[in-house]
């Protein structure tokens, strides 16, 4: 497959997933509502006199993002399970690489949109002084999301073949979310506290390293998941 054809296949697969989502909006709306609920519950799940908003905010943001994102990841392959639609996708000339990248792009758009909608809610609820450092925070969000969407897409493709895939995905995936989420929380904490970047640049390299390595491994291992 030429690279132009691969690109076309990626766009086609991501496009079809997003089209289905745009027509039903079920997963999208539930993820948004879920995110707002988690943000609200976490706000109240503490002693307000002992834990300040700024101390709570980074953890709350990342727990919300990863849990809401995980709801969306399952969807990408559950869609293909009905009527054995995955067989149809496999019959197209698209290579496993193109299918994986298409699914990753679709998931990135989905999770990214959920994050974009819940970020203002987070800023509003937790009253965080974020505007000046927004580009840096966006970079952290983009990196961490790319990391967990790559791993999540790989695992979602596996668990969809099991019973109870909704439970299985978090069990398999959460250990893999530990490094990127801890790094993202530390970075967010530094950004919200307006600390200089040099103080937490180590976490940024850890996050970037995680994304590069796990994206590469997920890409190559996906082929083993897909073969029949």
């Amino acid at each position: 497959m030429s690279s132009a054809a691969t690109l076309q296949a990626i766009i086609a697969i991501a496009g079809k997933d997003l089209l289905v989502e745009r027509r039903t909006k079920t997963a999208f709306l539930s993820s948004i509502v879920f995110a707002i609920l988690v943000l609200t519950i976490l706000y109240f799940a503490r002693d307000k006199t002992a834990v300040g908003d700024l101390d709570l905010a980074p953890g709350a943001l990342w727990v919300t993002f990863t849990f809401a994102g995980m709801l969306g990841l399952n969807r990408a392959f559950v869609l293909e399970r009905e009527n054995r639609a995955m067989d149809g996708v496999r019959l197209t000339p698209a290579t496993p690489t193109a299918i994986f990248l298409g699914k990753v792009v679709g998931n990135l758009v989905f999770v990214g949109t959920v994050e974009l909608v819940s970020l203002p809610v987070f800023i509003l609820f937790y009253d965080v002084p974020i505007w000046r450092e927004l580009p840096l925070l966006m970079l952290v969000i983009a990196l961490a999301t790319a990391g967990f969407v790559s791993v999540g897409t790989l695992f979602a493709a596996m668990v969809v073949r099991t019973r109870f895939s909704e439970v299985m995905l978090p069990v398999l995936m959460l250990p893999f979310l530990f490094p990127p989420v801890v790094a993202a929380v530390q970075l967010t904490r530094g950004i919200l506290a307006l600390r200089p970047l040099s103080e937490y640049s180590g976490w940024l390299s850890l996050l970037a390293g995680f994304v590069i390595i796990f994206f590469t491994f997920s890409l190559f291992l996906f082929e083993a998941i897909l073969e029949e």
Partner: protein, 226 residues
């Protein structure tokens, strides 16, 4: 045949393990600062070693399976993960039993503790995934993917917990630097490590031969010869 060899090795290892404890309790001096609680160290540390060895074997065999596609590699990887989980349970229960009298707390988010907890949970996940897949071919492939991913994840987890601790040092309950062991204790420890490794090999062989029998049985059921 494998089962019999495994059985013999396991029995020898179990007898030797009892011997280790006779030596640890009767002929190894009581540690000055930790008191008798330190005796559990002779089972805790070797079990930790055997568990990590087992998980490393699973990870490497998973990678080899994806390259060579030999069913035998998958069966050994699965057996090793199962034995590793069992050893990890011993490690994670003996740890707090020692921690309470010595550190003053059952649990501490010490770097090594946190990593081993995550590695344990990863391989419990590996087992859960295997249990949820019925087609042996798909199970082998997916489990191998999980095994390779776990192998890659371990260094990341380790760096994360290590940095987390160095950035936020724990105030009171830091693990003290362990003094270098006196010779008698070192001999007890090293022989216990050897025995636990032997126990691992014995268990692995027994689990492996059981898995082979189970596979034959599964195939018979599939072929309708039951």
């Amino acid at each position: 045949m494998t089962a019999r060899v495994g059985g013999v090795i396991t029995s020898v290892a179990l007898v030797a393990f009892a011997g280790i404890y006779v030596r640890a309790l009767m002929f190894t001096p009581i540690e000055r600062f930790q008191g008798p609680a330190q005796k559990i160290f002779y089972v805790h540390a070797p079990m930790a070693w055997a568990a990590l060895l087992a998980f490393a074997v699973t990870g490497i065999l998973s990678l080899l399976y994806l390259i060579m596609r030999d069913r035998k590699l998958d069966t050994i990887a699965a057996a090793s993960a199962e034995v590793g989980v069992a050893f990890a349970v011993v490690m994670l229960t003996t740890g707090p039993l020692w921690g309470k009298p010595v550190w003053g707390t059952w649990w501490s988010w010490d770097a090594r503790l946190t990593s081993t907890l995550f590695i344990f949970l990863l391989f419990v996940g590996y087992q859960v995934l295997r249990g949820a897949l019925h087609d042996p071919e798909i199970r082998a492939r997916f489990a191998a993917v999980m095994g390779v991913m776990a192998l890659v994840l371990v260094p990341f987890i380790h760096v994360t917990v290590y940095w987390f601790r160095t950035l936020h040092p724990e105030p009171v309950l830091m693990k003290p630097e362990r003094p270098s062991l006196p010779g008698v204790m070192l001999v007890t420890l090293l022989s216990s490590v050897a025995v636990c490794t032997l126990l691992y090999v014995g268990f692995l062989l027994m689990r492996y031969s059981l898995a082979v029998l189970r596979d034959i049985r599964e195939e018979e059921i599939v072929d309708g010869v039951s």
